[in-house]
Assembly symmetry: C2
Homo-oligomer: 217 residues x 2
């Protein structure tokens, strides 16, 4: 069976969980408590030299890293249902949307960046406006990039969930966690509402994970 090294609150692990559930692939969890720094343990560094989650261990013991690379692998090996459409032009739109989250929103606000801002630059990512700046900039471009067609289907592109939806939902979860006003993004919110009503997205959600902890603040 596949083993997913993840953490309930990690957006990147959440993406892979959605992909696994959409494709109905059985897997077991190995939780890595990011807030406690377990990703830096020597035993996990052997699995993932970047000390990041998620990692996906296959039955033969080989390990895949980077959430988008894992989703692409799953789409090649378990092609039903497809997360990346076959048409190269639509696939390019789906990947560009996903990468605009994975490259231009998420990396600026993950745990290690917040820790560096705090410890080395004495900047609080939330209070300084850093978090909201990158999030809102990114979401504004995503909202503009969607056609009105997405409001009919309830998905970013086409009639079924794609890698775009798989990345959008965890990013909006993260936005809500930090109490961001999302009123300016009606198209994104309509897609979120639709996706989070589907069983695969529900099973993958942070609150459904065995390592879930309620917010302490």
């Amino acid at each position: 069976m596949l083993t997913l090294y993840g953490y309930f609150r990690s957006s990147a692990a959440y993406r892979v969980r959605i992909g696994l559930h959409l494709k109905n692939i059985a897997y077991q969890d190995h939780f890595i408590h990011l807030a406690k720094g377990i990703q830096h343990n020597a035993s996990y560094q052997k699995i993932n030299p970047q000390q990041l989650i998620p990692s996906l261990e296959l039955e033969d013991g080989s390990v895949l890293t980077q959430s988008l690379a894992i989703l692409e692998y799953l789409d090649a090996v378990y092609p039903t249902p497809r997360l990346i459409p076959e048409d190269p032009m639509i696939a390019a739109k789906v990947r560009a949307f996903a990468l605009a989250i994975a490259c231009d929103i998420h990396p600026l606000n993950n745990l290690k960046v917040w820790q560096y801002l705090k410890n080395d630059l004495h900047v609080n990512a939330l209070e300084s406006g850093w978090y909201r700046h990158w999030l809102l900039n990114g979401l504004t471009a995503l909202e503009q990039s969607l056609s009105s067609q997405s409001q009919t289907t309830g998905f970013c592109f086409g009639e079924t969930p794609t890698m775009a939806d798989v990345l959008l939902v965890p990013q909006l979860y993260n936005a809500r966690r930090f109490k961001t006003n999302l009123d300016a993004f009606p198209k994104l919110l309509a897609i979120e509402q639709h996706c989070t009503s589907l069983p695969a997205f529900i099973k993958a959600s942070p609150a459904e994970q065995a390592d879930y902890e309620a917010e302490s603040n």
Copy 2:
């Protein structure tokens, strides 16, 4: 003919140039002077709502964005030579290597982040150590992830250039631009030396572009 919206010094545009030259695809340049802020002009925002480069305009006028999505598109439509190997496991390794650059090194040090650090947080990205921290962290993990086999072939994975090499060379160019000591990364350097001797990488290099400007410092 394809039109590439780029800038000689942009790592992300450089990636796409390498891909186009490796595949011998003819294209014309439309230069967007990042340092002068041309990416924020209304005319370019229509092409790329994220106000980022590169963008690739196809003959029918449709526009692709995000360098990795563009490279994946080119690989699907112009499959010879392949930048992403057909074997899903090797493809996952190639994509993970590329994403470790595209998600975990590059986004923390592109122009808009440096400008925000300077203007809003009064932090100089070079003098504060921000630049080197993310760069060296990222390169350390990449160096560890390569097998000794890469030293025989001169490429990150396998016998021919892949998307991994296409991302590595521009990132190391960026590192050299800011005078980073790279002695700790002998595997990465050997691959760089080999790749930059190949015609496609030479034609794609910043110094060969019509908008090239020598460093002013």
